[in-house]
């Protein structure tokens, strides 16, 4: 029975490793300038974690195979080196691993969070609400008009709560349901939550950031490939959470300008 356990465990360990080794399920191609750091960090960790996983599982399997149901009265032996060896191993291997990954991870993290957006970054406001994303471009005057929650009227397409009646500056703001951005241009996304907590997740951008009501957060990124990608909500926000999504549309500068003009005419 012990030998059987060893076999089963070995099979499980190998089967578990197979899809990873063969890259059966991997993150989609990275379209951001910072994503490579995250991906490298991920694969480094995968290598070390995979080694630890297989090592431990196979060792367990081997020992169970070797030392289970021995004939009665067979003398028990003790591992030379004993606990000291184990503790030392843990500290040396895991310790260095921790330090290495910790330090490397810091680099990747810093690329995303410790760099300020450039001056010429394109500012776009994103509002998350139950259960859709809406986006606002400053329009002709290049300014975001102030928001008035009491003015929100979704039936009328006023998702942000612009005071169109009294605030002339608000009338040129462009409100859209898709996030179109020019390729290779830094985007500074200002994040605003309308009701509860939400999150902004684009797998290809390697960006995930919560919307926290009452907190003005922002992320900045640069997309390097044109195309349509999905923006999904990853913070449980209510019954429509699964259906809360929008499209990120990365366009060439010209197409983007055309798109923006067209949207402006719809307002």
């Amino acid at each position: 029975m012990g030998k059987f356990f060893a076999v089963v465990l070995t099979l499980i360990a190998l089967a578990s490793a197979y899809p990873i080794v063969t890259h059966m399920y991997v993150q989609p191609v990275d379209i951001s300038t910072h994503g490579h750091a995250i991906d490298e960090q991920l694969s480094d960790t995968m290598a070390e974690a995979g080694f630890a996983f297989l090592g431990a599982q196979l060792l367990l399997a081997f020992f169970v195979w070797r030392f289970s149901n021995r004939k009665n009265g067979s003398k028990v032996k003790h591992l030379p080196g004993g606990a000291k060896l184990m503790v030392a191993t843990a500290f040396i291997f895991v310790g260095t691993e921790v330090l290495a990954l910790g330090v490397l991870g810091q680099k990747a993290w810093a690329e995303v969070y410790f760099t300020a957006p450039k001056q010429d970054a394109l500012q776009i406001q994103s509002q998350a609400g139950q259960f859709a994303f809406y986006f606002r471009y400053p329009g002709a005057d290049g300014k975001f008009a102030p928001l008035h929650p009491d003015k929100i009227d979704e039936g009328n397409g006023n998702y942000f709560g612009l005071d169109l009646a009294n605030d002339v500056e608000a009338r040129d703001d462009i409100v859209t349901a898709e996030l179109a951005i020019p390729v290779n241009r830094e985007i500074h996304l200002l994040m605003h939550a309308k009701d509860v907590g939400h999150s902004f997740y684009v797998r290809e951008l390697r960006i995930q950031q919560d919307f926290v009501p009452g907190l003005d957060l922002s992320v900045h990124f640069t997309a390097t490939k044109t195309g349509k990608y999905e923006i999904v909500c990853t913070q449980l926000c209510g019954l429509g959470h699964y259906n809360m999504k929008a499209y990120l549309n990365v366009l060439s500068q010209d197409d983007f300008d055309k798109w923006l003009k067209e949207k402006a005419s719809e307002q």
Partner: protein, 587 residues
């Protein structure tokens, strides 16, 4: 002068009558069984809920016959609505984390065996002990009440993030009375756990019998002791958090609700609250809770492994110190649940390092187990199989934690199925394996009858393979960016992942089904199992020195005297290759 002297409270007369014996009993053994029974009910409920979820995820529009009887609005015509899926999810998480993973390994086994293992006739405060269970039971009733009220169970997940959990009915079904019941239930639960932890600590400190020095306590006693210390702090923080949440919901305060929220076209009348405050308070409890679930299992498994390896661990001390350092570190890591929640990025790094550091004591524990297996005379039985399974799960769940501990990787993996896979492996399945191992090991002592070994082994094989089939693929889904807590996968990129989900669901049905073998075995053996001897496993600790089941005062009115460390195996003893803790013979 004698007048002032009365019987110490712990010496209570043998209970009379059914009520006193089996319901409002002061006997730690009965209370332990009550906790275990409650956990058993909760775990099968939780499992049924997960079945419904897995079913809905892969067959979203298929009717579940009869489900509309449970909730006509939640499942009109038997089809699960998005909000009802979230209700199932919330109740599954709450039942499992609080009423199973906290109750069974810690409160259940702990209550039953901690006093016995230190040679006490009962807990220090039997009345508190009884209260702690019945309080917990009320908490359970309050929680499940949410299933039958018109509003339905809450939909904000077991983490109940504010403001979703705080604003009330406008934010959706289940968030009116359902969410309030949840908060009330958890608050009550905290009281029960605080009473319990207090009891455990006082008992361990002051009721150890003669010769039972700290280092002579069995590893599981240590685990329960450390866990109760963690629980004391954790639940002492969750309780205020729940009270503040209730005030926001019912008294119109604004602890967690900021200004200017518009929900269902209604401007909410709150100002200045901080949603992150809830996250901090919750995770300050929430992360230690992981260790409240896993440490007792670590203790139980070590206890079972040693007995079945017929040799002591390379070093019990090292395991104990590792558990302590894990408990200690667990207080500085709560922020790693909030890497992407807008917390100051520097603090993310500060939280990341201790989190990664926890892998060191965890690795030490694992290596000690592995190293001790070398040269063992390993007995294979249901108990030891589940213990070995635990070691395997502990590793599998541990390594995935390595990814999530790093903020940069968490940016991509946060809130994907990778996380679901991780915590189910390490705190869900692993802890459950610990409970099952303990059950097969201690059932003879608790009931006086042996469990059926072949059924036990069958149960193990299906469960072991099944859980890997369920939870390993979760990690792959996470790698592909599959978002968690979705009631159906409408995103374009998730379509190709559906086959994996089908596989997982089927595995879940099979594995869940296997648990009924266990349930049958439990009930059958309780009444038909063959009589258990005093010490069926030739074990050394005190619980095996008394009859099975033990008398109401454990040691028949006297206190045992301890002569040895808990694990004298692989020695020449009068009874065989072991010497009991309380036997005076020299080793």
């Amino acid at each position: 002068m004698e007048e002032a002297v009365v019987q110490p409270a712990h010496v209570h007369a043998p209970p009379e009558g059914f009520i006193r014996k089996h319901i409002f009993s002061l006997d730690h053994k009965v209370i332990g069984k009550q906790y275990y029974g409650l956990a058993l009910v909760a775990v099968f409920m939780g499992m049924a809920l997960s079945w419904l979820m897995r079913f809905h995820l892969v067959w979203p529009t298929t009717k579940v016959p009869g489900l509309d009887l449970l909730s006509s609005t939640g499942a009109p015509g038997g089809v699960i609505t998005p909000e009802y899926y979230l209700s199932l999810l919330t109740m599954h998480g709450t039942l499992m984390v609080f009423f199973v993973l906290t109750n069974a390994p810690f409160a259940g086994f702990g209550n039953y065996f901690l006093p016995i293992q230190i040679g006490a006739e009962d807990m220090a405060f039997p009345r508190f002990n009884m209260m702690s269970f019945w309080v917990t039971f009320v908490a359970f009733l309050v929680l499940v009440l949410a299933f039958v009220i018109p509003d339905g169970p809450p939909i904000s997940g077991w983490t109940a993030y504010a403001p979703l959990s705080a604003v009330g009915k406008d934010a959706g079904p289940g968030l009116a009375w359902g969410q309030s019941l949840w908060a009330i239930s958890i608050a009550i639960f905290c009281v029960g756990q605080l009473l319990g932890s207090l009891n455990f600590i006082a008992t361990t400190l002051d009721l150890r019998t003669k010769g039972m020095t700290f280092m002579r306590m069995p590893i599981c006693t240590w685990a329960w002791f450390i866990t109760s210390a963690i629980g004391l702090l954790a639940f002492a923080v969750l309780l205020p958090a729940c009270l503040l949440l209730l005030l926001d919901r019912m008294a119109g305060t604004s602890f967690f609700i900021p200004s200017g929220l518009v929900i269902s076209d209604r401007l909410q009348n709150h100002a200045g609250g901080s949603p992150l405050l809830w996250q901090h308070l919750f995770w300050f409890f929430g992360h230690p809770e992981v260790y409240i679930a896993i440490l007792p299992a670590v203790g139980i498994v070590s206890h079972v492994l040693i007995t079945n390896m017929r040799k002591p661990l390379l070093s019990a001390k090292v395991i104990i110190y590792s558990m302590m350092s894990i408990g200690f570190l667990s207080w500085m890591v709560w922020g790693h649940h909030m890497f992407v929640s807008g917390m100051n990025p520097t603090s993310s790094l500060l939280f990341s390092f201790p989190t990664l550091t926890i892998t060191i004591p965890a690795t030490i524990i694992t290596l000690i187990w592995l190293g001790s297996l070398y040269g063992a005379n390993l007995q294979i039985n249901a108990a030891s199989l589940f213990a070995l399974g635990f070691v395997s799960m502990f590793v599998s769940g541990g390594v995935s934690g390595f990814f999530l501990a790093q903020p940069s990787i968490d940016i991509y993996l946060h809130a994907t199925y990778f996380v679901v896979g991780h915590f189910h492996m390490v705190m869900g399945v692993a802890a459950i394996f610990g409970i099952l191992s303990g059950t097969y090991f201690w059932f003879p002592k608790m009931s006086g009858r042996m469990m059926n070994e072949s059924l036990g082994k069958l149960h193990f094989w299906i469960t072991f393979v099944g859980t890997y089939c369920i939870f390993m693929p979760f990690h792959y889904l996470g790698m592909a960016g599959n978002v968690r807590r979705y009631s159906s996968f409408v995103n374009d990129f998730m379509a190709p992942l559906m086959p994996v989900h089908k596989f997982i669901s089927i595995a879940a049905f099979v594995t869940g089904g296997a648990q009924f073998i266990f349930l049958f075995n439990l009930i059958y053996s309780r009444f038909r199992g063959k009589q258990a001897p005093e010490n069926p496993w030739n074990a050394t600790s005190l619980e095996w020195s008394i009859p099975s089941p033990p008398p109401w005062d454990n040691f028949g009115g006297k206190h045992p005297v301890i002569y040895h460390d808990p694990y004298q195996y692989g020695v020449k003893g009068s009874k065989g290759d072991f010497v009991m803790q309380d036997s005076p013979e020299q080793v």
